[in-house]
Symmetry: C2
Subunit: 401 residues, 2 copies
């Protein structure tokens, strides 16, 4: 059985980022830059006022001096002339500082009447002037390739005068749930059957990782049905199957896809929940086979599918950040499989993060999975731990999950 | 001047959640539930096998015993008969346990040949059986109203047999940038002009908070242009303006909107960046006037607009979580305005979170804002702090910002 780390490395090593597309700035939020963004202009473009007040020569603007008002410079309407000795120009935040002026007299430090401005507080040279290029200069790199764009980044790209951005297209992920026992939500449920939850949970996980899901029709537990469904995933960047991957006679996915040209890389990992995990390639399409249990499918989705979509989407080095927490309850020894326990978070008396696994960790319990706030990681053969020990966790909210 | 807390309370106190809409389960990810979701069935619907193996009577299945195979129960195909003394039924994960059986013999603990199954490891009563209702029971509340749906929640709602969900519609937020000096990205820039970044940065912030932005055309610094633009926001759940709100002669928003029926609540808060902040109501539409400086506009957007959209969207109690960190550099005394310093995060030698403010905090520096990972909060009149002191921060990634 492969370790989790080796399995993930083999998956990520086989994936290349998808190509780029051009999107409008207004559609680029949360997308991943395919090329760096350089400033197309200098910001501010010239020395500008940081406040409302008067553009003056500092040498003249000493307390008690009276200056002569010769014009105004609102933002967007530069003053055409120059400020001479004993002169002042009314100026507003963001407006270009007129030639000759070397400081801003704040309006609360002046008494104005008609064309006279009396200085009530001496001004320092350069005060309240934002220099040209304070924020950035033309040609400077504002945002690097591979960055997922925040609202702040969108503002910066706008200020750099970019109406369009080059981003990785969203990876297209086919999702194929298999099983005679499953039906779609709202459809008739057969005796002994259950409602399919994997496909739609995984589709939402795909969206949270920045991909576009393609939910294929449910395939019955039948070699030809699975093969036909998989053919529907041509053109996807990755095909994910859920179910049909376990060890019994109903391990159908491999049997169905073999004649379709499926090249298996591995199919078993030392992990709980989720031992049966298939990785290979169906023609040109990478294929990830997840277990059918809903919790196993989601945990393997978090550990393998989420970083795979990130890598396809231009963020190859992204993994779930491992964080530390104090253990809220004792834990027994672990066996040879890495364990991902569903757990809740709290703060202990000293304000430190505490993590407490749910008592029952059955891989069919979706309600527990939905209520979990973290996955608590246990290495293979980890020794028993006392409450209060430090453990590693993945916080699900860190991944938007 | 109002405190930040009082201003936010007045804003949130004036807002009601918007109504609900019905969306398909496949479109419900990241939406906010308007009504709780109850299970429409019991899961599992009956006692089912947790493993691949044989359904047996525990009393018979002792090491060395030979059982007679009388049929098979794959998932979705319940075995119609009953398991009698000395009998076994082949069973697979998720399949209904046949009548008469009270335990599962694992396939790796059995040696099968023809219709004979030899037990190689004694079985315990009830072992490897998932009881009906282990995950949830019909009628049970699975997800509460007000919850923003994760991928895991989508899976749980699917398993509960819901093809449709009732969610709050996304609040519609009008965004009006004003100013003679600003132009849209890619449009011609006038002498002394700059490219408008606020509207698109705020639009992305609206999306990250779950709203739908409506970016209105830029309004010139002119009373009638601003009034006409504001009329275009009718039907929005909230109108946000950026710029035109400062203290000088160019404080146009209030003058323009007065004749349109604008009822002001407050317009000045004790905060940096962002002193000029307008809050009121234009007819039926709440109006939030943000400062024009791009950093001020975004910081006020984080502190006031983000929770306002959350409240409109059905999450009235949501605020940016305050976290603690060690200060990476000393800080001087604060004045009477609450300060929100742009800062980066790191880990100190002992694995504790450290926060270091950027040296220059000018409210025009969008590049610094884009590179920030946190806002460091300083209360009015906060005393000087040594490096290593504990401070409160907002981590921008916590808000998806």
């Amino acid at each position: 059985m492969l370790s989790v780390e080796e399995a993930r490395a083999r998956i990520l090593g086989a994936l290349q980022p998808v190509g780029a597309e051009t999107v409008a700035l207004s559609e680029a939020w949360n997308r991943v830059l395919a090329a760096p963004v350089h400033a197309r202009l200098t910001q501010p473009p010239a020395d500008v006022s940081a406040m409302d007040g008067y553009a003056v020569r500092a040498a003249d603007a000493v307390e008690g001096a009276e200056l002569r008002l010769i014009g105004a410079a609102p933002a967007g309407h530069p003053f055409a002339g120059a400020v001479g000795a004993g002169e002042a120009v009314r100026i507003f935040t963001g407006a270009v500082v007129p030639a000759g002026a070397d400081a801003i007299l704040l309006q609360e430090d002046a008494r104005a009447s008609g064309d006279s401005v009396v200085v009530t507080e001496t001004v320092r040279t350069g005060r309240w002037i934002r220099r040209a290029g304070l924020d950035f200069r033309e040609g400077e790199e504002l945002l690097p390739a591979g960055r997922r764009l925040t609202a702040r980044d969108i503002g910066l790209a706008a200020a750099g005068n970019h109406p369009w951005l080059s981003v990785h297209r969203a990876p297209r992920i086919g999702i194929l749930a298999t099983g005679d026992e499953i039906s779609l939500p709202g459809d008739p449920v057969a005796p002994g059957g259950i409602v399919s939850s994997n496909a739609h949970a995984l589709a939402a996980l795909v969206r949270s990782a920045g991909g576009v899901p393609l939910v294929l029709p449910i395939a019955r537990d039948d070699v030809s049905a699975i093969a036909a469904a998989a053919r529907g995933a041509r053109g996807c960047d990755l095909l994910v199957t859920a179910g049909g991957a376990s060890v019994g006679e109903h391990d159908l996915v491999q049997r169905a896809l073999g004649p379709e040209g499926f090249a298996l890389d591995f199919w078993k990992i030392a992990m709980r929940p989720g031992k049966p995990l298939i990785w290979g390639r169906l023609g040109d399409t990478p294929l990830l086979g997840l277990p059918g249990n809903p919790v196993s499918s989601l945990v393997c989705g978090i550990v393998f599918l989420w970083p795979a979509i990130a890598a396809l989407g231009g963020r190859p080095d992204l993994a779930a950040p491992l964080r530390r927490a104090k253990l809220g309850a004792p834990l027994g020894e672990n066996d040879r499989r890495a364990d991902y326990l569903r757990a809740t978070l709290s703060m202990d008396a000293e304000g430190r993060r505490a993590v407490t696994p749910f008592e029952t960790q059955d891989s069919s319990m979706l309600k527990t999975m939905a209520r979990a706030e973290a996955l608590l990681l246990r290495a293979p053969h980890a020794p028993p731990l006392e409450a209060g020990s430090t453990v590693e966790i993945i916080i699900l909210a860190d991944l938007g999950l």
